[in-house]
Subunit: 218 residues, 2 copies
Amino acid sequence: MDRQFAGIFSEAFMILIGLYYLRLMYENFQRYIDERVALCDAESKLVRSVAVIKKIRKRQYLLQEGDVWKYDAFVSSGCLRTYSINEKGSEHIIGFSIENWWCGDRESLLSGEPSRFNIDAIEDSELVMFTHTNFEMLCREIPAFNQMVNNILNKSFITQQNRINASLSNTAEEKYLNFVKKYPEFALRVPQNMIASYLGITPETLSRIRTQTARNKG
Amino acid sequence: MDRQFAGIFSEAFMILIGLYYLRLMYENFQRYIDERVALCDAESKLVRSVAVIKKIRKRQYLLQEGDVWKYDAFVSSGCLRTYSINEKGSEHIIGFSIENWWCGDRESLLSGEPSRFNIDAIEDSELVMFTHTNFEMLCREIPAFNQMVNNILNKSFITQQNRINASLSNTAEEKYLNFVKKYPEFALRVPQNMIASYLGITPETLSRIRTQTARNKG
DNA sequence: GAAAGCAATTGATGTAGATCAATCAGCCTT
DNA sequence: AAGGCTGATTGATCTACATCAATTGCTTTC
């Protein structure tokens, strides 16, 4: 009897912990939204009602090449990478996503074609996801939400433009130094070989660049 | 008396020709819109009422580094390039815009900061331009217009994503062959040295690639 | 706590593509 | 028709970065 009680208790406890975590994970997204737009109570509830929370472990795939991507996904904690694999079998990292970034393959999402990219977790991660249908509904129903999404898209566009410019104009060393300046968080969390891949250089070259610049600084 | 009449006549004639051209230039934009959205008469007129038509000559600047870009610009004929100049003084072409493309510097437009890019005409060109304030008004007043703009932005984002992927994954030759496949119009109209700059290779390398691939095809 | 993976470093060597330089061809100008 | 630009081609050489290979220090795993 005692034991049974303990069992029930611990089960209930686990459920509570589970709910608590879910709340935490969503709260980060809530905060992100609140910082950007002022939603009324009904609107907030609408958003919350279609949000799906997903946890994925380090090394786990969120998307595999060949699959169709159907979500809009917000990273509430952790870190993921989006990358392609070319015919020669080498990986090239298109982008990283940490807390408060979005991730996914927009091309596959909008075209309905299978993705040419892979996305996997570099750290255990937590996501707030929306099916694209729901996401479009939110954009339609909540103009301010739509406006926010638009801003994000605009910013991403600009970021990519700058990355293209950098890839054309800069040497390997310049690319790395600019990267560190622009994304110091990444430089600390992401393994060096992945940063190299993102910059379009080999891990060996990046290692040499680092020892050289460190030497020059004294 | 005769001569004076001839003068007036020819002047009126020139004005008519001028008006005719303006109509033509705008018509291309009108067609572009009509292919994408169904606007009612009042909406079409609203768009037309804030459109400004601009002609620029080959080699003329549309935007110079350091200036703030304030427009949304549609290319109704001709061809332009957007490029940056790095500290070493070398030019790098970020993008080309031909008929039915848009051009400008979104970063400067949205941030209000001076642009780091130059835009000039590769051919005599005709543009339909909107001040950003007017353009935002159109997006606000005409939901379908807003939707169209959003689609364009999404597509541009995807295009850039793919360009980044190509720049990381492909050899110079692959980049060129993909470029020709994807944008055959450009390959014909744009001088080779500019294509090289766009691809991030030197004109010499591009020339060698071309002779080699031609030889291989027999 | 040994074994197995994985990431980073360092060295030796290779190469795609850059740079430098000269020539050539097609133009616009006068 | 002649000179002057601009862009393309070709050759010789150079170099930034890649590739290959070995070593070392880690985490992860059983």
